[in-house]
Amino acid sequence: MQEGRVLPPEQINKDLLNSIMSTPKWYWPAVGICSLIVLIAATIVGYMINKGLGITGLNRPVMWGFFITNFVFWIGISHAGVMLSAILRLAKAEWRRPASRAAEVLTIFSLMTAMTMPIIHTGRPWRSLYWFFPYDFARGIFPNIRSPLVWDPSAILTYLTSSVLFVFIALIPDFAILRDNTTGLRKKIYTALSMGWQGNARQWKLQIVAGILLSALILPVFVSVHSIVSWDFGMAVSVKAWHSTVFAPYFVVGAVHSGVSAVIFVLILLRQAYGWQDYIRREHVEALCRLLIVVSTGWFYYFCMEIIFGIYGREADEVAIRTLQFTLYPWNWIMIIFIVTTYFLPILLWSRKVWRRNLLIVSIACISVNIGMWLERYILFVPGQINKQLFTFTWANYTPTIFEGIIVLGTFALVTLLLLLFSKVMPLIPLYDIKEGDILKTEVQIGRRTVPATFRED
């Protein structure tokens, strides 16, 4: 039996636009709380720029701490968008449909949030233009393209640009529906955004071709972004734990792991908040969880490689770092929590079909993955700096300050706030995609059973 009902298009419009057309009671309080946290964090950023990075817990061996961890975390979250919409689109997985828009939007907002992190963590943020703006500023010196830190902004900005294009192209038909359903100033804005969409055959064809082309073109960018972020660390010969060849695929797979988990959590929230039970169905959540079982196992393989080759060489300095990571307080606890929350707990929770269809259990698993993945970056980056070389004289610990914690919290609030604001002006589930899925949906009778089936797209 088909799990979801096939609804008439008018009903779909009405249901999915209710986040824009009406305002739930919790909406403005939620926006208020998030704004408050963002404001507090922004104030602290201002204070930090005014006073210097001294207010953080960074010190001489540990130059990159919470901010860089958080940067990599948000870059990781941003990998869900392309995974869900581009790869699954090319793979023609039907269950991608309700998840694609939320994933892409999360991609854009988490990328934007991530980009703030390296900027505020520099000593002189007001001079960042030297760094990522490819211009010689009358000094005859362009940015140093040998530096991984210059590869970073190019990859991230390319990814941001293409993701925005990707979302915008997918939004055009939905803008047209909004244009037809609004009045006044809003109608004018949506009219401009829908770019004269009439829904004729030629426009649909162009829109679909553009979507598929962008999916294919965005894939290399998708892979390169997190690879390059990983090479920020992999290129550093002087930090033993960082100089590992496996970093690039390890980071990319980890990013997909945490990103897709975050998307599932967002989807479940949307489903509960707006009553979209008919669109975000348990079968979708289950399929996403099955995907995650594969992804997380791949991630675990790379993780094992990283650890095994950490001790493979039996070099004293590297062994010292691994000893710190695995056996010394507080890293041993972080390590245990990280491994359990990233892999073993979620795998357990996704292991049974009943549990994969239980939204509460899936939410717990997805939050657990993201806690673990945040800690993963932390435990990957910081211990390597604490025990950097054989010279024990310069070893020192890192204790983050409350200010760093609040700024990190602020980034979470920022992404939530941006998502909330977005949901007010644009549909978070692609309307036309859902309708297309409904049209392609059919059934096949085998003996006494009715099996769900789809028309093949090619």
């Binding site: 039907e94 290129m235 060849t245 393989y301 060489g313 096949v444 769900p452 089936a453 028309f455």
Partner: protein, 472 residues
């Protein structure tokens, strides 16, 4: 059906599984394919050449020293790389419920028999592997225990544990093959005779096709497949580090086992596609093997080729950027200096040529596109194995206990007996596979029948399209 053909000119391409008439004849057809006797003799002769090569090499150099055996190792690793993941390919596609896998699962599973060859070939190598503990103890520039994944030299390391690991693979994969072939053997007992019939009775005599038997069979394949899935990367990891990486001092490269595993899947898929193409083109199975198989598999092959260069680049840039002496030496040895041309052929075969072939939609739709790319993939993989393992075996015995390699060794070409062994090992693998094709039904009859049930033609607006059911 005829009217459908006129309605939609894509009909022939779209229909994935054969209709009822074709299906009825499948059991007889699948168990009675005529393997060319000439082919069997040819592979047998190749095997004999290999045996001669082995005997000559062993009598000249003995089995104690690993250095002269580089090409033997390369050929073994090539066959292992191609054949060991093949059963997993079928298990994996079954797990994600791809419909197009159905005609190729048996072709993939029969590769399990070559696993026995792998194990036999592995035995001499196990004897050669040098001691992990340095007999001279630690020195100024050498270690007391050479760098391997056996950190503390546990009991039986590495010989016993590696043998166990190597043995577990053919055991599991042959079990998968037998289990998955049972319903088909049961269905085709009436079409076979003689000793083959006795074998079919032995394996499939109990099969009644009750619901319980089906459930147990599928659960068992799933469990074995899962176990195999966990074991295989581990064994590939053991082989690639113990016989490759750890023989070059200071080569510490965490992505290398991943590249080896990745190439395993790439080459397995390639080998399966080549066999599939031969079956379609010359074996008379064109009704069962459609263009859809190549269309779907070619996308995966394309993806794997791109993943290969991605992993390779991730390795390369880390070593190159770091500018450490040991890493520069290894890069120079295996990539840019000594083994440069072999590396170029490897990269062309594993990445560039398949990429350039498969990037075109019409080529991927055609049945010849993916198998053509697959041939290059296999050539590239052979070169990879020669480069890595001959390279590792010939980096010099005196440096394996050192902290790092301080020089760039020279590449070593094969002599006549090396060539004999390479030819012989590949011939032996082909021979065993051909024998397997004679024993087992070459098509997965029950899966194809199941697939045929899940498809129908449906009408959508003004066109007729294929409908494929996705069972939960």
């Amino acid at each position: 059906m005829a009217e459908l053909k006129t309605l939609n000119h894509h009909y022939k391409d779209m229909w994935v599984f054969p209709d009822a008439d074709d299906l009825a004849g499948l059991p007889a057809k699948a168990t009675s394919i005529g393997i060319n006797k000439l082919l069997l003799w040819l592979t047998l002769i190749l095997t004999a050449i290999g045996v001669v090569g082995f005997v000559m090499r062993a009598s000249a150099d003995g089995l104690n020293d690993y250095e002269p055996w580089g090409y033997y190792m390369a050929a073994f690793s090539f066959v292992f790389m191609v054949t060991a993941p093949a059963p997993l390919v079928s298990v994996a596609f079954r797990l994600i419920r791809s419909h197009w896998r159905r005609p190729l699962t048996r072709i993939a599973e029969i590769f399990a028999l070559v696993g026995i060859v792998n194990f036999v070939l592995y035995i001499p190598l196990m004897l050669m592997i040098p001691e992990i503990a340095n007999p001279n103890g630690a020195g100024h520039h050498s270690l007391d225990i050479r760098r391997t994944l056996w950190i503390q030299v546990p009991w039986g390391a590495p010989h016993f544990w590696e043998t166990m690991a190597m043995l577990s693979l053919p055991v599991m994969s042959c079990l998968i093959l037998l289990l998955s072939a049972t319903p088909d053997m049961s269905a085709s007992i009436q079409f076979v005779s003689g000793i083959k019939k006795k074998f079919y009775m032995l394996v499939a005599g109990y099969w009644k096709g009750s619901k319980r038997q089906w459930l147990v069979m599928q659960a068992a394949i799933g469990a074995l497949g899962g176990l195999y899935f966990l074991t295989l990367p581990f064994v590939q990891f053991l082989i690639s580090t113990d016989f490759g990486m750890s023989l070059i001092a200071g080569w510490k490269d965490s992505i290398f086992p991943a590249i080896y595993t990745l190439m395993g899947f790439q080459t397995s898929l390639a080998a399966i596609l080549i066999v599939l193409y031969i079956f379609r083109r010359w074996g008379g199975f064109e009704n069962f093997i459609g263009a859809s198989q190549f269309w779907s598999a070619s996308k995966i092959l394309l993806g794997l080729s791109l993943l290969w260069i991605y992993h390779m680049f991730a390795f390369f840039i880390t070593f190159w950027y770091g500018r450490m002496e040991v890493e520069q030496n290894i890069l120079n040895y295996l990539y840019v200096d000594s083994w440069f041309w072999i590396f170029i052929i490897n990269a062309l075969g594993s990445w560039l040529i398949p990429f350039l072939i498969l990037v075109w939609n019409p080529v991927r739709r055609a049945d010849w596109g993916a198998p053509l790319a697959a041939v290059f993939v296999l050539i590239g993989a052979l070169m990879f194995n020669i480069r890595i393992f001959v390279g590792a075996f010939n980096a010099g015995r005196e440096q394996i206990y050192d902290i790092s390699i301080t020089f760039v060794p020279d590449a070593v070409g094969p002599d006549i007996w090396d060539l004999c062994m390479v030819i012989g090992i590949i011939g032996l693998a082909c021979l065993v596979y051909l024998i397997g094709l004679r024993i087992f039904p070459v098509m997965n009859i029950w899966e194809i029948k199941e697939g045929a049930m899940y498809q129908k033609m449906g009408r959508l607006f003004r066109g007729n399209y294929l409908v494929l059911a996705k069972p939960e």
